[in-house]
Symmetry: C2
Subunit: 204 residues, 2 copies
Amino acid sequence: MNFSSRFIEEAVNAFASLPGIGKKTALRLVLHLVKQQPEIAVQFAEAIVKMRRNIRECERCHNISDDKLCSICANRSRDQSLVCVVEGIRDVMAIEGTGQYRGLYHVLGGVISPIEGIGPSDLNIDSLVQRVNEGAVKEIIMAISPTIEGETTIFYLSKKLRDTGVQVSTIARGISFGGDLEYADELTLGRSIVARVPYKGVNE
Amino acid sequence: MNFSSRFIEEAVNAFASLPGIGKKTALRLVLHLVKQQPEIAVQFAEAIVKMRRNIRECERCHNISDDKLCSICANRSRDQSLVCVVEGIRDVMAIEGTGQYRGLYHVLGGVISPIEGIGPSDLNIDSLVQRVNEGAVKEIIMAISPTIEGETTIFYLSKKLRDTGVQVSTIARGISFGGDLEYADELTLGRSIVARVPYKGVNE
C-alpha cells in the first residue's frame, strides 16, 4: 500500500498488528477515526491504555479484575461452596451470560498440552488445590472443553483433588439443544446413549 | 456480555464503536492486548493519537498529509500538468498502487449526491477550478466511479472547467481484464462495444 502520510502508515500498522485484521481493514478503521473529531480517537486510545494499565488478575480465581478480588469473588451473595473450573476468562463470560450459575470460578489459564509445552505447573492448579484445602468449597465443576487436552486436564485435576474429599463433577455432555442427531459425531452420540438420563416429564 | 472488569468493558466498547467490529471481535482484540506486554498497548494507542493529532489536508490537493503539501504535491519530479480528480484518499492509494501514474491528484471529498444532501459546495470543486486557472494544468483526468452520482459529478465538473480550456478525460471504462463477457452487466458491455478501440498488435 502507498501511504502519502507516515502517521497514517504507522496507525494502519498498529491496527494490522491485531489478530484477524489485515492492512485493508486497518486502513478502513484508521480512515474512520480520521473522519471523526480528534477527541474520539483520543478517547479510543485512552480506553485501551487505561484498560491495559489497570486490569489485573483476581487473587483468588485468576479471573480478570479491576481490584484485588474480581466482582464475582467479591460478591458475598454467590454460593461460596461451588467452584467452576474453566480454561480462560472468555469461558467465565460465556457461563455468566447464561445466568444459570451462582457459584464462583477458578481460571486455569489453559489446559495441559504437551504438544504446546504447557504442563500442570504452567496452570493455576496449585492455587485451586489450596482453595479446596481451605475447606469452604464443597463441589468443583469442571467446565473444560471435551478435547483430548481438556480431558487430560480434568483427569489430572481430579487425581490432585481426590484426597481433599471435594465432590468433582463435569458439565453435561451430549447432543446440543436444536442439534440434529444425524449430524452429531459418533463419539458424542455414542456417549449420550451410554450416559442416558431418566426422562423427567413436564409436570415434574 | 458480562464483564467482570469495567476497564475491559470500556475497551471493548471502544473497539466495538469502529465500523465492522462487533462485540465479540472487540473482545478478542482486547484480550489479545491483555496478553501482550503493557508497552504494546501503549504503543498501539500512541500511534493512533499521534496520527489523529498530526495529519492534515494537503493545501493543494486535499489529500491526507503530514505537512502543508502532501508528498505527491511536494514531489517536483511528478508531472505538474496532469491532475487526476478522485473522490477520496483511498482512490489516491489505489492509483498510486498501480505505479502507472506520475501526475498530481485532486481529492473532491465525495461526489454530488442530492439524496445524501451533498451538493457541489460541499466538495473541493472551487479549489480545483482555481488550480486550473493558475495555468500549469493541461489535462484533468476524471477517475470517479461510474455511478449515477459519479457521472453527475463528472458532468458538473466538465461544465465548470469548459471555459478554462483544459483538456478533460475520464479513465477508460469497459470489461475488466480477466472479466467474463457473459457476466458483465449490459450497460458496460453495450458501451464497450460502442466505444471500441482499434486493436494494437503486440508489435506496436
